[in-house]
């Protein structure tokens, strides 16, 4: 067996007759050494990637004055779980979590429904101008949102929608991304299936609802999870539009807390940990769909 230190998925046995007699023992020793080396490299890498999370978690269980010590105490002497109780009184975290959940769920539902619906039109119904229209969708993906955030803001201001959740929902629920991802998936479903259903007398809406939706569950899950996490983590949208504390999301609330109490290191980390936990839960539950969503929307674009 050769555990290579480079690209291919663990290679099969070496080509027969490739190694002259006597080199066999050296070879297996080298292989074992390589495997150990690979694990060492992986562990170092994982440590580098995870250190910030370890720091966050460890600091969230300390006193403020224990956070910056020389040398670093990775495991606090006394675990202050009370931080996780106190923070609810320090900031209206429940309101923030509620707002974040409301926005994320609403936007996700609208995005998934309208996106998959439009994707069916773009993928399975033929009509003149369809492909040109889809090209318009694709073209906008190349335009950075930052380039038109000001006109969006002016529109919302004129419509008197600044400082409302509705502004965020309207701006984020009808993106091109959902249409794009779902169409990609529908393209892989053979047209013959729809054709057969049409002959059986199912309307286009029936085909969408009874055939395409159930068949595209993995893609729907990908889209739903990606949208949910993006909305939950979004900072600029709420930052631009929401001024009332009552409307703030977790991200805004946490940022404001950090700005106000910039020496309460432990409490900041407690807040950060709490803001990441829901995402961790969602991610661990649907990891497969995340990766698939990225791989489909990414590579076949």
């Amino acid at each position: 067996m050769t555990a290579l230190s480079d690209a291919p998925p663990a290679g099969r046995a070496a080509p027969p007759g490739g190694s002259p007699g006597g080199a066999g023992r050296d070879r297996s020793a080298a292989v074992a050494a390589r495997r150990v080396l690979a694990y060492v490299a992986l562990t170092v890498m994982a440590a580098l990637v995870l250190v910030p999370f370890a720091w966050m978690l460890s600091s969230s269980l300390k006193r403020d004055n224990e956070v910056f010590t020389v040398p670093i105490q990775w495991i606090p002497e006394e675990l202050r779980w009370s931080n996780f109780v106190d923070i609810w009184e320090r900031i209206p975290l429940l309101t923030y979590l509620g707002n974040s959940a409301f926005l994320s769920v609403t936007i996700t539902v609208l995005q998934v429904l309208s996106g998959s619906f439009a994707a069916y039109g773009f993928s399975k119904v033929r009509f003149p101008g369809r492909d040109a229209l889809f090209l318009a969708y694709i073209a906008t993906i190349a335009v950075p949102w930052q380039a038109y955030m000001v006109p969006q803001y002016i529109m919302m201001q004129k419509a008197d929608l600044t400082n409302t959740h509705l502004a965020i929902i309207l701006l984020q629920a009808f993106g091109a991304f959902g249409v794009f991802l779902m169409r990609q998936y529908y393209q892989s479903i053979p047209d013959e299936l729809c054709e057969a259903a049409r002959i059986d007398g199912l309307s286009e809406y029936g085909i969408y609802w009874r055939i395409m939706l159930p068949l595209s569950k993995p893609a729907l899950a990908s889209l739903a999870l990606l949208t949910f996490v993006n909305t939950w983590n979004d900072y600029m949208g709420p930052f631009i539009y929401l001024t009332d504390n009552d409307l703030w999301t977790v991200q805004l609330g946490l940022r404001s807390f950090i700005g106000q109490y910039d020496a309460e290191y432990a409490m900041m980390m407690t807040g950060a940990t709490l803001s990441v936990l829901p995402i961790l839960a969602v991610f661990l539950l649907g990891q497969r769909y995340f990766i698939q969503g990225i791989a489909t929307s990414g590579l076949k674009g």
Partner: protein, 309 residues
């Protein structure tokens, strides 16, 4: 039009007259697209087109719009904030693009193997990408703390007597932001590279090994050329992402210290939304868009030429 109508599978029966069928298809097609398209038109396409028009207007929150031609662009030439922001954006892109690409490829190569625990490592590498920016920024700001932060403690431990002051210093704030963003984004591009690596036939490597190619030669001779489509796509995505960087900067340094991390997108935000200079900010936005477009087109050209040769 006729071509479009006659294209469906030839086996499909065509009972109804074509004209009525075509109209029906148009109606049905639009009924599917409309719910999304209405929102998309109103909240994406209209603002996008408006941004182009605004770039040639003088308009702020106190006065009526007025056509000024290219004046916003000449103003930009003399605006020191714009120069600083452009330079900082280029600096960020020059660090973020190659480092993220290299880190993502490295991670993908390391994790594209069947060892026990690899799924865990992949999850760990990907997780930063979906961690909220505010949490990322506050944690990294603490890691970068000049006096007692873990990073400088480590640097001192390995003999760096005067480690950089990172986010507290004008020279080192941008590198700190770049390091943070590489850490955050590498897992995302790793996923794309993993998908790319899995499309390379194992036989290539076996044949190369029989021919006596070492790991380094196999990497440059097989892996890199086979991954060209992925690398191209990743490079384009990273470029777009780099030039429009905004939220990480806003939560991590807010452009400071001074304006050492002020970037273009942030200048657009400040001029347009904070200051209400709708026309001028849209002109900067247009420049940002043109830069992104140019770089992307150039990348397409280079890729075409390489694939042709």
């Amino acid at each position: 039009m006729a071509q479009v109508i006659t294209r469906p599978a030839p086996t499909a029966p065509r009972a109804r007259p074509r004209g009525r069928r075509a109209w029906r298809d148009i109606l049905v097609g639009w009924s599917f697209i409309l719910p999304n398209f209405a929102g998309f038109l109103l909240f994406t396409i209209v603002p996008m087109l408006t941004a182009f028009a605004l770039a040639f207007l003088k308009w702020d929150s106190y006065s009526d719009p007025e056509w000024v031609g290219l004046k916003n662009f000449t103003r930009m030439l003399g605006d020191e904030n714009f120069h600083v922001a452009l330079r900082n954006t280029l600096f960020y892109a020059a660090g973020h693009i190659p480092l993220t690409l290299a880190a993502a490829l490295g991670l993908a190569m390391a994790l594209n193997r069947k060892l026990r625990g690899v799924p865990f490592f992949r999850t760990a590498a990907f997780f930063p990408y979906i961690t909220s920016l505010v949490a990322v920024a506050v944690v990294w700001n603490m890691l970068f703390n000049p006096t007692a932060g873990p990073i400088n403690q480590l640097l001192e431990a390995i003999g760096v007597s005067e480690p950089p002051r990172w986010v507290a210093s004008r020279d080192w704030a941008m590198p700190a932001v770049i390091i943070t963003s590489v850490w955050r984004d590498m897992g995302y591009y790793m996923v794309l590279y993993l998908a790319g690596l899995q499309t390379i036939p194992k036989e290539y490597y076996e044949a190369a090994r029989v021919d006596g190619a070492n790991a380094w030669q196999r990497f440059w001779g097989i892996t890199v050329p086979s991954l060209r489509p992925t690398t191209f796509f990743v490079a384009v995505m990273l470029t777009i992402q780099s030039f429009k960087v905004l939220d990480l900067i806003v939560v991590m340094t807010d452009g400071g210290p001074g304006r050492s991390t002020l970037v273009l997108a942030q200048l657009i935000y400040r001029e347009g939304i904070t200051e209400g200079q709708f026309g001028y900010s849209s002109a900067i936005a247009l420049v940002l868009f043109l830069i992104v477009l140019t770089v992307t087109v150039v990348q397409f050209r280079i890729n075409e030429r390489r694939s042709a040769s």
